[in-house]
């Protein structure tokens, strides 16, 4: 009897593990990912309003404990002002990007600048739903024209890219997430790949060859917008914090600080932009 119970327990575990692994492989396989993302999308459509209602119910209690009667209104106004300031910061930073020469050059290559692109302003509803990823959830989704891979800007620069688009909400992977890779360039046109390093270490990039002329502390890196890039050109991404190349090294390692203030993401702009189809596709 005890033996049969033990066998049944083991069988239960084995079956559950096999089912779990099958679901994970369905999700990670490009061809079947749409099944799991569809299930997530439907659940999100049902769960988000319920969650919103609970948040609405609880937020006055939170505000009460914060000790300010108009806390919510002031906070909301502050966040809107921070978003407006961030937009101005982007515009200002863009001017410093050897604007005239580069714009002319990019115009010849039909590459878009952020100023010419349509954006959708979205409010952040959740930050880092998992302790293992750096994401935000925003209140705009497919019904507002949002698609996967669209760039998200705010708080002074590039914030991230849409990785999941539901009907009325989207999940944005932040540029500091370990999975994030952004093609960047700086003043003299040198191109590099800026990697997210997780919450503790912001971003880094490697330049080949080392000792690149013009590289200095504080220099701003912009999205490169190279052919086939998933982001438009000229969005401020990060500032050079430090750089070093060991003697005889074939590359220079750069530590970067995101240009966007990643603690001010209450409102962000999603850029309605899709990469140009590659020739022959």
């Amino acid at each position: 009897m005890a033996k049969s119970r033990r066998s049944r327990r083991t069988l239960t575990l084995v079956v559950l593990v096999v089912i779990s692994l099958s679901i994970v492989s369905l999700d990670l396989n490009g061809r079947t990912h749409s099944i799991t993302s569809g299930v997530k999308s439907v659940t999100n459509s049902v769960f988000s309003p319920l969650r919103g209602a609970v948040v609405d119910l609880l937020s006055p209690i939170g505000s009460f404990f914060a000790g300010a009667i108009h806390y919510g209104a002031v906070q909301s106004e502050n966040e809107k002002l921070a978003a407006a300031l961030a937009k101005l910061k982007i515009a200002q930073a863009e001017k410093g990007f050897q604007a005239t020469q580069l714009r002319d050059l990019l115009a010849l290559e039909h590459l878009p600048f952020l100023n010419a692109l349509k954006t959708v302003t979205a409010q952040t509803t959740q930050v880092n739903t998992s302790n293992f990823t750096m994401t935000i959830t925003v209140n705009k989704g497919r019904s507002d024209g949002i698609q996967v891979n669209m760039p998200v800007v705010g708080a002074g620069g590039l914030v991230g890219q849409v990785i999941q688009a539901f009907h009325h909400s989207s999940v944005v992977e932040l540029i500091t997430d370990g999975q994030s890779k952004v093609g960047v360039t700086f003043a003299n046109g040198v191109i590099a790949l800026a990697d997210g390093q997780g919450p503790s270490a912001s971003m880094s990039a490697d330049l080949v060859p080392p000792h690149t002329p013009g590289l200095k502390k504080g220099a701003i890196m912009y999205t490169s917008g190279e052919n086939g890039a998933t982001l438009p050109a000229g969005i401020p991404v990060a500032k050079v914090k430090s750089f070093h190349a060991s003697a005889g090294a074939s590359q220079e390692t750069i530590a970067l600080t995101p240009e966007a203030d990643m603690s001010q993401l209450a409102y962000v702009d999603i850029v309605i932009w899709a990469p140009a189809p590659s020739p022959g596709s």
């Binding site: 559950l16 948040v55 959740q126 998992s130 270490a201």
Partner: protein, 180 residues
């Protein structure tokens, strides 16, 4: 399992998921928030053994996976392994011991987070091991120790209604019992 007990368990899972995605996400210490998910299989395993722990871990993990950006199914995988292991590890322990629940919550949540990160990295999500594990373990372990008692209360209500009137997600008599 009758529909009544299944509904009770679903209600508990839903409430915990709702609390996690509202209250817990706003409680951040060093950028880390408490994680209630692992407490469901841990308490279920302590109350009703490894098989129930595995089943509760699987279904609650799957429910949480629907709201997380991590690979779909990963929480279910870790949840069922955690529930089963916790049930097996505490099989010979007196369940009335005062220290059992906090200690199980502390070790269980840390081991689950570690397993979650490592499996995520193995599945190509390298960012899952690029986090500050010390602050993660501290926040998740300590919050689990504090929150295990209320979650255990809910789980007891779902799995063992009427105090000593022991019912289970898994029937001891029926070989095909449980949630299948």
């Amino acid at each position: 399992m009758t529909a009544r007990y299944a509904l009770r368990w679903l209600l508990v899972a839903f409430v915990v998921l709702m609390v996690q995605s509202t209250v817990m996400l706003s409680v951040r210490i060093g950028g880390v928030h408490p994680d209630l998910l692992w407490l469901l299989p841990i308490t279920a395993a302590l109350l009703d053994g490894p098989e129930t722990g595995a089943l509760v871990g699987f279904w609650s993990g799957l429910a949480f996976d629907l709201t997380l950006p991590t690979p779909f199914g990963l929480s279910a995988l870790v949840g069922c392994v955690l529930g089963f292991s916790m049930g097996m590890a505490t099989a010979a322990v007196d369940k009335r011991a005062v220290w059992l629940k906090p200690v199980a919550a502390l070790f269980g949540s840390v081991v689950a987070d570690m397993l979650f990160a490592v499996l995520g990295a193995v599945l190509g999500q390298q960012q899952m091991v690029q986090i500050n594990f010390l602050s993660l373990f501290l926040v998740v372990a300590l919050s689990s120790v504090v929150l295990v008692l209320p979650v255990n209360r809910f789980m007891r209500w779902a799995l063992l209604p009427g105090g000593g009137d022991r019912r289970s997600l898994v029937s001891a008599q029926s070989p095909d019992g449980g949630l299948w």
